[in-house]
């Protein structure tokens, strides 16, 4: 059961870490290319 708890904890940690990094990288890229690209589209 301890192994299952460990998997749950680490699993959720990986999910948040992965998506957190994706979010940060995309924020940075979004900022860089929004300013340089005049043909941007509004969402």
């Amino acid at each position: 059961m301890i192994q299952a708890l460990y998997i749950t904890l680490i699993g959720m940690l990986i999910v948040f870490a992965c998506l957190g990094v994706v979010m940060l990288v995309m924020l940075i890229i979004g900022k860089i290319f929004r300013a340089k690209n005049p043909e941007s589209e509004t969402k």
Partner: protein, 375 residues
């Protein structure tokens, strides 16, 4: 030749009868009730083919056996479907509001919570049913609310449970509009459901949209390498879409490719459900836990939405948290519908679509994380 080996009727068992009834129900649901017809119809047909006595379709050299070996055991079918799914999805809404990514991550607790529950009922503590750690994880992955991820993970961890897991996953995905709203209403106040979110969002350039799939493959691949096949094929499909230079390939991926593979996948899954393997007490437990997984997904998504509402000082409507589950695009539509019911002028679709597409990525990452921790 003996008469028993000549006519299938002599080998007709009660399990055969029950499976033919189940096939009939699935085909009825698909045709008469429009419940995930694209998959349930081929699955129903596959079950009939697999349960005709003496036909030998599921044997190693039978056509369903060969399809299983070629498409499921190699994980080929779910990955090919992911190319098409990627080509279908517009990640614009989540790119315009990157913080919604967190809602997708939070809603994956349904996978891990269900995994814990199943393992507790099984080999972990109560020993009520013989569920191993890998089987419990496969059942938990129903909570990814994502067919290809469920198939991919189950085929690697517990191929013996693949049939019921896939049927449960697709059935509950069709039932999202029934499962989610009561939980969403239970966990939110009228005031929270009435929160109107700003329709203004950041601009998303074409370059950002093109870079997104590439960056996601690299980031997810580095953090959770086991998720690389899933996220890689999903994002490859999205790159075809967003590149704008291979419209023909993108169109093929989201239409012909997905359609052909869905036919083969449905038949193969149905072919993995002969009565002797499907009719076990574990199957009932898989269906019960499947609904628990979807409920937990929804609940944790909404609860995280409430936290974001609190942090943003009332700028986030917690209802969009429910769209953090991957069932795309149905979960986003449900959030919109529940919001509109409370206030006919409260449109949440774009924000919910952002959480929903984030859920698609998060479910793949969660699947990869489970594989990394258990294989």
């Amino acid at each position: 030749m003996e008469l028993q080996n000549l006519f299938g009727i002599f080998s007709f068992t009660w399990q055969t009868a029950v499976m033919l009834i189940i096939a009939g129900i699935l085909i009825y649901l698909a045709i008469a009730r429009d419940v995930e017809p694209v998959l349930l119809l081929p699955i129903g047909a596959g079950i009939i083919l697999a349960n005709i006595p003496l036909a030998g379709l599921t044997e190693a050299n039978g056509i369903l056996g060969l399809l299983r070996k070629a498409g499921i055991e190699t994980e080929l079918f779910p990955l090919l479907i992911f190319i098409g799914v990627g080509a279908m999805i517009d990640f614009g809404p989540v790119l315009a509001r990157p913080s919604l990514v967190l809602l997708g991550a939070a809603a994956q607790f349904g996978i891990f919570g269900t995994f814990l529950l199943v393992y507790m009922i099984g080999d972990g503590w109560l020993h009520l049913m013989p569920f191993t750690l890998k089987q419990a994880a496969s059942i938990g992955v129903i909570g990814s609310a994502d067919g290809p991820t469920s198939i991919y993970v189950s085929s690697l961890l517990a191929p013996e449970l693949l049939g019921p897991i896939v049927v449960a996953a697709y059935s509950y995905m069709a039932l999202v509009p029934i499962i989610q709203p009561p939980i969403m209403r239970l966990l939110t106040t009228k005031k929270e459901r009435n929160i109107r979110m700003s329709s203004k969002a950041g601009e998303v350039s074409k370059r950002t949209k093109i870079l997104f799939p590439i960056v996601t493959i690299i980031v997810v691949g580095l953090v959770a390498p086991m998720a690389t096949p899933l996220i890689g094929f999903l994002m490859f499909g999205n790159l075809l879409r967003e590149s704008g230079v291979v419209a023909r390939l993108a169109s093929t991926a989201e239409n012909e490719l997905v359609n052909i593979v869905t036919i083969l996948l449905g038949l193969t899954i149905g072919g993995m459900m002969p009565g002797s393997e499907f009719l076990k007490p574990q199957t009932i437990m898989i269906f019960v836990m499947g609904i628990v997984a979807f409920a937990l997904d929804t609940a944790t998504g909404v609860i995280f939405g409430k936290i974001m509402c609190l942090v943003s000082k009332g700028k986030v409507n917690p209802l969009i948290g429910a769209a953090g589950i991957s069932a795309f695009p149905m979960a986003a539509r449900v959030a919109q519908k529940v919001g509109l019911k409370e206030n006919p002028h409260n449109h949440l679709l774009m924000q919910a679509a952002g959480a929903n597409t984030a859920g698609q990525i998060a479910s793949v990452v969660a699947g990869g994380a489970i594989l990394a921790l258990l294989l």
